[in-house]
Amino acid sequence: MELSGAEIVVQALKDEGVETIFGYPGGSVLHIYDALFQQDDVKHVLVRHEQGATHAADGYARSTGKPGVVLVTSGPGATNAITGIATAHLDSIPMVVLTGQVPSALIGTDAFQEVDTTGISRPCSKHTFLVKRVEDLAETLRKAFYIATTGRPGPVVVDIPKDITDPSVKVPYEYPRNLKMRSYSPVKKGHLGQIKKAVELIYNAKRPIIYSGGGVVIDNASGTLVDLTRELGVPLTSTLMGLGAYPASDRQFLGMLGMHGNYEANMAMHEADVLIAIGARFDDRVTGHIAHFCPQAKIIHIDIDPSSISKNVRVDIPIVGSVKDVLNDMLRIIREDSRTIDNDGLTSWWERIEAWRGLGCLRYEQSDEVIKPQFAIETLHKVTGGDLYLTSDVGQHQMFAAQFYNFDKPRRWINSGGLGTMGFGLPAAMGVQMAHPDKQVACVTGEASILMCIQELATCKQHGLPLKIMLMNNGYMGMVRQWQEMFYEGRYSHSYVDALPDFVELTKSFGHVGMRVDKPSDLEAAMQEAFDRKDELVFMDILIDPTENVYPMIEAGKGHHEMAMSPASRQGDQP
């Protein structure tokens, strides 16, 4: 088969099984767009800004496990995509980003819409390619998908100069199915000796805890994690990225840990004697002050990325390998072993944990007058029966959603954890809805975040995406305001979002349904109505308490045992 470069791009996508891509045309990618036009297998979603394309592909990838694919033009097309590429990189999301480039002969001449795309994307992607010959294109694309989806996944950028896709130059095409790269061969199986050592440590533990992260979700290891945790009977806490991998409704789940984590989770981390870290990377938002982190614990760390191990925290038993494979091996060894974990130790450990849990760290003051954001998330859970794909933007609403929407399944909670990208929620939800057309998809957002990618409401109209947007409108950049209240004596420097649009009218002008709610008593019925409108995008402008803060909280420089509690929780007795 002889194909042009443009046709090779489209054919390679088909051969990779790609059904949907997100993009925006421009000069350097016109040949590729022409090839896309002449086929029906690969569906293209036209966004309104390239940042939206990358977040949408990201949401698609997070909710399915399949790589997200983006197609944008050179110059500003590529630079607009960078925030989305960095977002995917920090959360290890498989993505292939195809960027047009000026013709090879013009590279380096400051040509129209030229930037050094591989140079700009290098530090925020897993790998970058610049295609130099059309003969290399198919193999480069195969490599891009292979690198993006294996090992610790991540975004791969393929920069394609316009002459490479010239429709008049045809070359033989064969998709290289069996690719081997001498410089890249991620390990899968963990070292059995290390796994056995870890099992010994777990058997001798008196106060063990599992700390599970996004790697469990990425590796589809949720089922194995649940089996192992139940087999051992030990408590489990999850990072922001790992939520849903272990059912939040289960008794062994202590909630999220870290800066806005649950008291019982953080205290258990502080008192633990054995910490089993699974697909988590000891991020600063999780550890608090490193010097106070898990002072008594021996640490087991399971991770596919060797460079994650002992990067921030020294570990005692590192196990490099796929989380799923390692957990399966661990489970098998434990099931074959006739011993049981120290039951007396575990019983008294659970007694202490239950006492911490009894404090009710997520308690908040109820109100009949004003909608509390926590109450809004609880209502969302009630109305959707917990069966929802929920994306979020960044800030207080993100933390409230993580704390109060109890996720029972993996790949349901979609948020920018590592980079903390405002503007992520709406386009990510589009990607999720494209992947799951028959499922309920909502985006919880704030009035500051939503304005960063509001233009994507037009994309939702064009592609008929019936998202439910839950705007927690407090008129402030809530998290910034909270820090200014706590650490800057209430000097609210530029955190007040003055001159907000009328979101209901704005939504209507895009052709969607807008609603405004400001009374707690109206909220449930309004949300129910929103979700009953199955074929329409409904934008709910929910006016919430402008002064509510996220608790509990570990302030910067403090340890897990030094949490600040909400006023409502402080009224209880600390055990």
């Binding site: 591989t118 140079g119 290098r122 530090p123 897993k126 790998h127 970058t128 610049l130 130099k132 690198i147 790269m181 001498r182 410089s183 890249y184 990325d305 060797p306 460079s307 191990i309 002992s310 990067k311 020294r314």
Partner: protein, 164 residues
């Protein structure tokens, strides 16, 4: 803090060198010298990197380098017996009585004078970095016109090797 010499093989491809140097600046690692050229296998480049850092930082450097897609293999030369060499071209002012003096110093250091003009020499010298430093230090400062150094390259002693 310890001085490490990392020797690595990487794909001889566009962007590979940038990937390595960008890694050092992005993660705040320090590079003292970096020396790179193709090998007998034209698809591979060999790079020698010198860095001084703590053991934990060094562990991260090697892990992060291994993580780069273009890096095929690496070793820490300073971990075992090894030879390190650096070449220097130094241009010095050589007039009157100093012409003889500098020539004699160059001979002591086993340097070669490879260019001569009425009032200058260019001296070629090979050795480990300390030796080259020592030579620069014995030439009076106002006589040094220009110093060009390649950076360290190195190889392990004995049969131990860094090959595919």
């Amino acid at each position: 803090m310890k001085r490490h010499i990392i020797s690595l093989l990487m794909e001889n491809e566009a962007g590979a060198l940038s990937n390595v140097s960008a890694l050092f600046s992005a993660r705040g690692f320090n590079i003292e010298s970096l020396c790179v050229a193709p090998t007998d296998d034209p698809s591979l480049s060999r790079m020698t990197l010198v860095t001084t850092c703590s053991e934990s930082v060094f562990e991260q450097i090697t892990k992060q380098l291994n993580k780069l897609i273009d890096v095929v293999k690496l070793m820490d030369l300073s971990e075992g017996d090894h030879i390190e060499r650096e070449m220097m071209l130094i241009k010095v002012r050589a007039e009157k009585e100093m012409r003889e003096e500098i020539k004699r110093l160059a001979e002591i250091f086993r340097g070669k004078i490879i260019d001569v003009s009425d009032n200058s020499y260019v001296i070629e010298m090979t050795g480990d970095s300390d030796k080259l430093d020592a030579f620069v230090n014995v030439i009076p400062e106002d006589h040094v016109i220009e110093v060009v150094r390649t950076g360290v390259s190195g190889i392990a002693r004995g049969v131990k090797s860094l090959t595919l």
